[in-house]
């Protein structure tokens, strides 16, 4: 392997980590955003970033499966899910005035989020000491995004906010899936994982009782 190819592979893997970091940053944004629309936009951006991460891994590992997965992620997490959530907001007329944040002090949420990320780092340090060193960054990023998603779910007291938290958490799990090398069933797993928040939101819109949501 020539020096040049090593350099290029290194930079691509660095890019994948950078994008993963951006996903984590967007999770923090989900945590502190009060209004639904910016939070949904953040979720869409997360989906797009996940697709880019998949493209990076496709370049690294040279498999066509990951290209397919990147397309799936862009369509599902980047487009379909945010559109469905927008539909939710539109139907219930929530665009203005209603907060999806439980606590109105973003500082508390941020501090809790940082504590969770620290927890993820500290928990993974002893675990990934040996041969698993190379996977440490991916695992820390993935676990952090999952924990932040759980925090969003726990902190919100309304279904929309909880659904956004669930979607953020699934994005974290997807980050971990993309980092795992050599999965034979990768597209199917990604598809099922994406179906969790999407079917939840769709079923909620379909089964919501017609009365009582006039606001």
């Amino acid at each position: 392997m020539s020096l040049e190819s090593i350099w290029s592979s290194l930079s691509v893997s660095g890019l994948a980590h950078l994008l993963g970091g951006a996903v984590l940053l967007l999770s923090f944004m989900l945590l502190v955003r009060r209004r639904p629309m910016p939070a949904i936009n953040g979720l869409a951006a997360q989906g797009g970033l996940l697709a880019l991460v998949a493209l990076c891994h496709a370049a690294l590992r040279d498999t066509s499966q990951l290209l397919l997965v990147a397309g799936l992620l862009a369509v599902g997490q980047g487009l379909l899910l945010p559109l469905t959530l927008r539909e939710w907001v539109r139907r219930l007329g929530l665009r203005q005035g209603i907060s999806v944040a439980a606590a109105h002090r973003p500082g508390v949420g941020l501090a809790a989020g940082v504590a969770l990320v620290l927890l993820a780092v500290l928990a993974l340090l002893p675990v990934t000491s040996g041969a698993a060193m190379g996977m440490r960054e991916d695992l820390v990023l993935s676990l952090s995004v999952i924990l932040l998603g759980l925090l969003v779910m726990a902190a919100r007291h309304n279904p929309l906010g909880q659904a956004i938290g669930l979607a953020g958490m699934v994005n974290g799990a997807l980050l971990g899936v993309l980092a795992t090398p050599g999965l034979p069933l990768l597209p199917a797993v990604v598809l099922v994982a994406m179906a969790v928040p999407l079917s939840t939101v769709t079923a909620f819109l379909a089964m919501r009782p017609p009365a009582g949501d006039a606001g």
Partner: protein
């Protein structure tokens, strides 16, 4: 008799049968049959035909599962029948069949029957897939599908409380699915350098290479999988969705799908533990399971006393039994056999209890309160004694299977971890006392007035006074929907109470008990006159029970103004005309036979383990312990 392999090779069977019975196709058949059945059932609109089609599909699945047991298990691929999952698969198919028969004679609340049977088959297929899967990723996909189906089943009545329960299920199940997915990936990262790409997630391959795999990653993967699948299995403290989902489902038979999902999830945890304990790191994997098991037993022993709704009561029973099985798996070694036996016996006993309670609820006009169902043995002796035997099995009474598994468990605990035997013993006794106390009230307590004696056990049409005394789910929702909620941010966003506001676990649901119904109707809110009148009639269990009145004079509070009274009478008659589904003519016999078969199976498991089954369980304990 010719062995299967010879028969397949000798050409005694047509080609299609050989293909179907080949080792790679047969496991998929067990999965595909229920799914095909679900597709057909969702299209069938005739309720009787659909109910018996449901039974037929379940029977075919049981046949396929039995053949799978008889065939040599040399299969490779994504699905794999082995000692660990075959007993559970056979049990799932058996209980699936009895649940289908029960659904045919005790159909759920009308309007939901079609969706419920279709969802039931979908869930059977998903749990069979999860049990049979050798690949952790396939198992994860199947369990996600199963928990989403359970949420759908819980939401079917579409009342606010049902939607809140389903939302809670989806959120907790989704969170569990996310954690379990990461755990699966961590296991794959640990195993992949050793097993190669193709079967990085194969349980079989992982068992072979587990000793050399990175111990930290294995433990991390197990912890994540335990947290994720623990939600689905109903391990304390991750069980909060289970009582709500069972309480709000259209029929008490919901306990059967929930038990099957719990079994599949617990098997997934057991497999992860088997892999992780090959090379334990800082934390032996069994410790967490031991603690979760003890917590489950303790929770059930304390919470059983407080349950006032039968769905919740069955759910708490299931949580206690799951705790016992988890404790056994945490001990490891031969105790795994006790745990598997415990899972099988618990599923059988819960299924029998659910069938009996569903029948009792239908006999008492759709009531679902423990108080309204009490005194079954005096009004309907066969049913009452059958339920008593099933609950006695859950309490661990001697000749039945739980006694054997609990005896084995205590023996193993004393031999391996003596200091854990004391809390286990206290928990077991407390659990048995709580179960027996509730059994006494439910079966041998005083029957509420208005419940007719049915000594002959024959089917009795649903009575007017029964329907009035005990609200059916439909009534609850109509009454609850009559209220107008305050337009808070929460209400404006959703229209349903959120999961965060739902009843605390173990507590009585606000909207499910008569007392809760009254709480749904605070005086300041606007209420439709008929709904309020009805709710007040329904709400008070302490009020003197109205005399069995003739059809044209339902009891209403005398203080009502005349117009409201007329409205209320009209609403009551209309709703009763809608829901006057006569009970199945042969329902009493069918239910008695079903319960009897379950009890016989429990007795057989308890008195003598059938030889092949004992061998399978011992081999399973060797694999997983």
């Amino acid at each position: 008799m010719m062995p299967w392999s010879d028969m397949l090779a000798s050409g005694a069977l047509p080609d299609w049968a050989v293909t179907l019975l080949s080792p790679w196709a047969l496991p998929w058949l067990v999965v595909a049959l229920p799914w095909l059945g679900a597709a057909v059932l969702s299209a069938l609109s005739a309720p009787r035909v659909a109910a018996w089609a449901n039974v037929g599909v379940a029977a075919l699945t049981l046949v396929a599962a039995t053949v799978l047991l008889a065939l040599p298990a040399e299969a490779t691929g994504l699905l794999r029948a082995e000692a660990l999952n075959l007993p559970l698969l056979l049990l799932a198919a058996l209980v699936g069949l009895s649940g289908a028969v029960a659904l045919a004679v005790l159909p759920p609340h009308e309007g939901t029957a079609r969706a419920f049977t279709a969802g039931y088959q979908l869930l059977l297929g998903a749990t069979h897939l999860a049990v049979l899967a050798d690949d952790f990723a396939v198992m994860w996909m199947a369990l996600v599908l199963a928990v989403m189906t359970v949420a759908m089943l819980a939401a079917l009545t579409r009342g606010p409380a049902a939607l809140a329960a389903a939302w809670k299920t989806v959120l907790l199940g989704g969170a569990g699915a996310g954690l379990a997915l990461l755990g699966t990936m961590v296991l794959a990262m640990a195993a992949q350098p050793l097993t190669g790409d193709a079967n990085a997630l194969s349980f079989d391959a992982m068992l072979r290479v587990g000793r050399e795999a990175e111990s930290g990653l294995l433990t991390l993967g197990f912890v994540l999988l335990l947290a994720g699948y623990g939600v689905l299995a109903g391990l304390v403290p991750l069980h909060a969705w289970l009582p709500d989902a069972q309480a709000e489902a259209p029929t008490p038979l919901m306990a059967i799908p929930c038990a099957l999902l719990g079994n599949a999830a617990l098997l997934a945890v057991l497999r992860a533990q088997a892999v992780a304990s090959l090379n334990p790191a800082w934390l032996p994997p069994g410790v967490l399971l031991l603690l979760a098991g003890l917590a489950g037993i303790g929770f059930a022993a304390a919470a059983l006393w407080r349950q006032r709704q039968v769905g919740r009561f069955l759910a708490v029973c299931a949580i206690g039994q799951t705790g016992l099985a988890a404790f056994a798996f945490g001990l490891g070694g031969p105790a795994v056999m006790a745990g598997l036996l415990q899972m099988m016996a618990a599923t059988l006993a819960l299924s029998a209890a659910a069938v009996a309670i569903a029948r009792a609820s239908a006999l008492r006009g759709g009531a679902d309160g423990m108080h309204a169902l009490s005194g079954l043995a005096t009004t309907d002796p066969r049913l009452g004694w059958g339920l008593a035997a099933a609950l006695g099995a859950l309490a661990g009474l001697p000749p039945l299977a739980q006694f054997v598994s609990e005896f084995l468990l205590v023996q193993q605990a004393v031999a391996r971890l003596p200091w854990m035997a004391l809390p286990l013993g206290i928990g077991l006794v407390a659990l048995a006392i709580a179960t027996l106390a509730r059994l006494r009230g439910l079966c041998f307590g005083p029957a509420p007035e208005g419940a007719r004696t049915n000594v002959a056990g024959a089917a009795r049409p649903r009575t007017q006074e029964g329907a009035r005394l005990h609200p059916s789910p439909d009534h609850r929702f109509r009454a609850a929907e009559g209220t107008r909620r305050e337009p808070t941010a929460v209400g404006a966003l959703s229209g349903i109470p959120t999961a965060g506001h739902a009843a605390p676990p173990g507590d009585d649901a606000p909207a499910t008990s008569p007392a809760g119904l009254r709480a749904e109707l605070p005086s300041g809110l606007r209420v439709n006159p008929p709904a309020q009148a009805r709710a007040e009639t329904l709400a008070d269990p302490q009020a003197p029970a109205p005399e069995p009145t003739p059809m044209d004079a339902p009891a209403l509070p005398p203080s009502l103004p005349d117009s409201a009274r007329a409205h209320a009478l009209a609403a009551i008659r209309a709703s009763e005309a809608e829901e006057a589904v006569p009970l199945h003519p042969a329902g009493g016999e069918a239910v008695s036979i079903l319960i009897l078969l379950h009890l016989l199976a429990l007795l057989a498991l308890g008195l003598f383990l059938p030889g092949p089954l004992a061998a399978l369980l011992a081999e399973a304990a060797k694999v997983a312990g």
